[in-house]
């Protein structure tokens, strides 16, 4: 149980690569923080710096108000779950889990108590005598977790622990990890490139790209009000649609015009834009697939879009639309009766509209 404070962390490798740039994050006790971003964004490096496996080039790292920049990993009281689990192949599961305690000179009966307890939580009781190579991927993953749990560390660090599991097991383990977090009441820091993992498990999510933190927020905020185009595109699946557009102003109304049509903004949003001076300017319109309403065009002259591809997922249907040359994906009710090459009418849910500056890619509406 601990709070962490990352202040302007930088990582510059000897070959000049600047992997982590001025990362500052405050992590409170008992939080489940997820670092998410595309591969190579520096998320693992941040985690390894917290663990002490990677030197901090500049900046300060505090665990419970103690600066740990120069502290060895073993003195930081952290536990880490590695992507490939890194179980000790020559030791039994029991020894794997007890290794850290043995090194800390914990009495044998206490070690046994801790290991048995962790094994019970994770359902590993019957496997304690086996060697790692006799276990399935899912079981090994749980042993790696167990090795962290028995230590009762201040902070749990996890580096893409689910990426080696098959899809079904991953969904299952996701829920188990969330439960584990509630049960252990410890700070979790979790690294992944999978936005679904981030959204489902994190109490707070840090979105990183090219070593820079783009947004730190809870899942709901991240989904509803991304601060820029990158975050908007990274969170949500299928990803948000982006359409080139232009802000026009006539009389008292402000509207967004794009190739296939235009939408009128409500006065509140119009005021926001005016305040920032964004009228008569090129912008990027963002709309999530689930915020697009599709109705069949009854009049063949009056239509907005052409259906190019239909993907049936059972619970949802994805329509790949062509709106006057712009490719847009819409998520619709499977009951909707449309076929490929149908002409349809499209309506965007107005208060779910996002606007981004074409150049800076910053979000313009709150």
């Amino acid at each position: 149980m601990a709070s962490l404070n990352l202040i302007n962390l930088n990582k510059i490798y000897p070959n000049g690569v600047h992997a982590v740039k001025d990362v500052s994050i405050e992590i409170e006790d008992k939080e489940f923080v997820v670092l998410v971003g595309p591969s190579g964004c520096g998320k693992s490096t941040v985690l390894r710096m917290i663990a002490g496996l990677e030197e901090i080039s500049s900046g300060e790292l505090y665990i419970d108000d103690v600066m740990v920049n120069d502290m060895a990993p073993k003195d930081r009281d952290i536990a880490m779950v590695f992507q490939n689990y890194a179980l000790y192949p020559h030791m039994s599961i029991y020894d794997n889990m007890g290794f850290g305690l043995k090194l800390r000179k914990m009495p044998k009966d206490q070690i046994k108590k801790n290991v048995d307890e962790a094994a019970k939580i994770l359902g590993l009781e019957d496997l304690l005598d086996r060697k790692p190579k006799e276990l399935s991927g899912g079981q090994r993953q749980r042993v790696a977790l167990g090795r962290a749990i028995v230590r009762d560390p201040k902070v749990f660090l996890m580096d893409e622990p689910l990426s080696n599991l098959d899809a079904k097991l991953r969904v299952q383990t996701r829920a188990e990890l969330s439960k584990l977090h509630l049960r252990l009441e410890t700070t979790f820091i979790y690294v992944t490139h999978d936005q679904t993992e981030a959204m489902t498990m994190g109490t707070r999510i840090v979105v990183l790209k090219d070593g820079v933190v783009h947004q730190v927020a809870d899942p709901e905020t991240l989904y509803n009000s991304p601060v820029n185009r990158f975050v908007a595109s990274f969170i949500g699946s299928p990803q948000m649609n982006f359409i080139e557009a232009r802000i026009t102003e006539s009389n008292d109304t402000v509207s967004i015009g794009y190739k296939g049509g235009s939408v009128e903004l409500n006065p509140k949003k119009a005021a926001q834009l005016k305040e920032k001076g964004y009228t008569r300017k090129d912008v990027v319109l963002g709309i999530r697939p689930e915020h697009i309403d599709i109705t069949a065009a009854d009049d063949s002259e009056q239509y907005d879009a052409l259906v190019e591809v239909i993907e049936l997922l059972g619970s949802d249907t994805y329509l790949f639309l062509d709106i006057a040359g712009d490719a847009v994906i819409a998520r619709v009710n499977p009951a909707l009766n449309v076929r490929v090459h149908d002409r349809v009418r499209v309506q965007f849910t107005l208060d779910k509209l996002h606007l981004f500056d074409s150049e800076t890619e910053e979000a313009l509406l709150q």
Binding site: A51, G52, L53, A72, P73, K74, I78, A79, M80, F82, Q83, N84, A86, Y88, P89, H90, F99, G100, L103, R104, R147, R151
Partner: protein
């Protein structure tokens, strides 16, 4: 058409089998001849044509003799040589493995300045022919007043240590970094990581390199001959065999030499058989990333 194909297939297989037989013959014949000769008496040895098995000179019946073996096994020189060789080869192997695995851990897993130059320096040490360092070493040993056995153990490291270091380095490098990091986070010091996690995993490589180092030290002749010249009681087996004297002047006791050579090979064969499985694992394991 089909027949033709099968004929060429047959030829290929015949050629392949012939190759195998030739290679086996090439490798095993000297050993067979040593055993054959060791079972012959002096007069049987000088029969012309030489016989493939020991035969009685008159009746040509199969009649092996074990007199060479009993002579060798009661020879104090030979037995002392055996003891010396065991001491020297074992110490050399153990020291080479200890120092080699320490060095290999550092060279294979730790980052430090001058790692590459160190690797090449170690490799370069093996390039000098033994003869070139011999006189220099002899001078050093006499100056330091080292005993013959100690000087053999240390000088054998010249060729065993670079070898064990190189093989073990590639093996250590093949072990996943995450294992080390995991141990580090678990609270292990670098030495504990080495001793508790990495060393047990390198066991197959330790056995293989250890065995090869042992064989090299066991068979070494030049250094042993030179360094024991002042102390005949420290002679190792190869030197002791070379000093075998016949009953009369200028007589070479071939039978006894062959019996001794055969006996000397036995420990090596036994060691190889004991560790057979591990050796195969060790020779291939370093190559593929585990």
């Amino acid at each position: 058409m089909k027949k033709k194909a099968s004929i060429s297939g047959l030829l290929k297989r015949a050629g392949f089998n012939f190759m195998i037989i030739f290679i086996l013959f090439y490798l095993l014949f000297p050993f067979y001849w040593a055993v054959n000769s060791s079972l012959k008496t002096e007069s049987q040895l000088f029969m012309t044509p030489a016989t493939a098995v020991p035969r009685d000179p008159v009746t040509l019946e199969f009649s092996p003799t074990f007199q060479n073996y009993s002579a060798v096994l009661t020879d104090g020189q030979f037995l002392r040589g055996l003891a010396n060789s065991t001491i020297v080869a074992t110490s050399t192997t153990v020291l080479a493995l200890i120092a080699g695995s320490f060095a290999a851990f550092a060279l294979g897993k730790l980052r430090f300045r001058g790692r590459k130059p160190a690797m090449y320096l170690i490799l370069a040490m093996t390039m000098f022919p033994q003869v070139t360092v011999l006189t220099g070493l002899y001078a050093v040993i006499t100056a330091l007043g080292l005993s013959a056995r100690i000087s053999m153990i240390f000088s054998y490291m010249i060729f065993t240590l670079p070898f064990t270091t190189w093989v073990l380095t590639s093996f250590f490098r093949g072990l996943p970094d995450a294992l080390m990091e995991s141990a580090q986070v678990d609270g292990a010091t670098p030495f504990q990581t080495f001793r508790r996690i990495l060393l047990p995993l390198t066991a197959p490589a330790l056995v293989t390199t250890g065995l090869l180092a042992f064989i090299a030290a066991w068979n070494e002749y030049l250094f042993a001959l030179t360094f024991t010249s002042i102390d005949p009681s420290a002679r190792t087996v190869p030197v002791a065999i070379a000093y075998f004297a016949g009953a009369v002047a200028r007589q070479e006791p071939f039978g006894e030499i062959m019996a001794a050579a055969t006996l000397v090979t036995v420990p090596l064969v036994v060691l190889v058989l004991i560790f057979q499985r591990r050796i195969v694992a060790g020779l291939t394991a370093g190559a593929v990333k585990g």
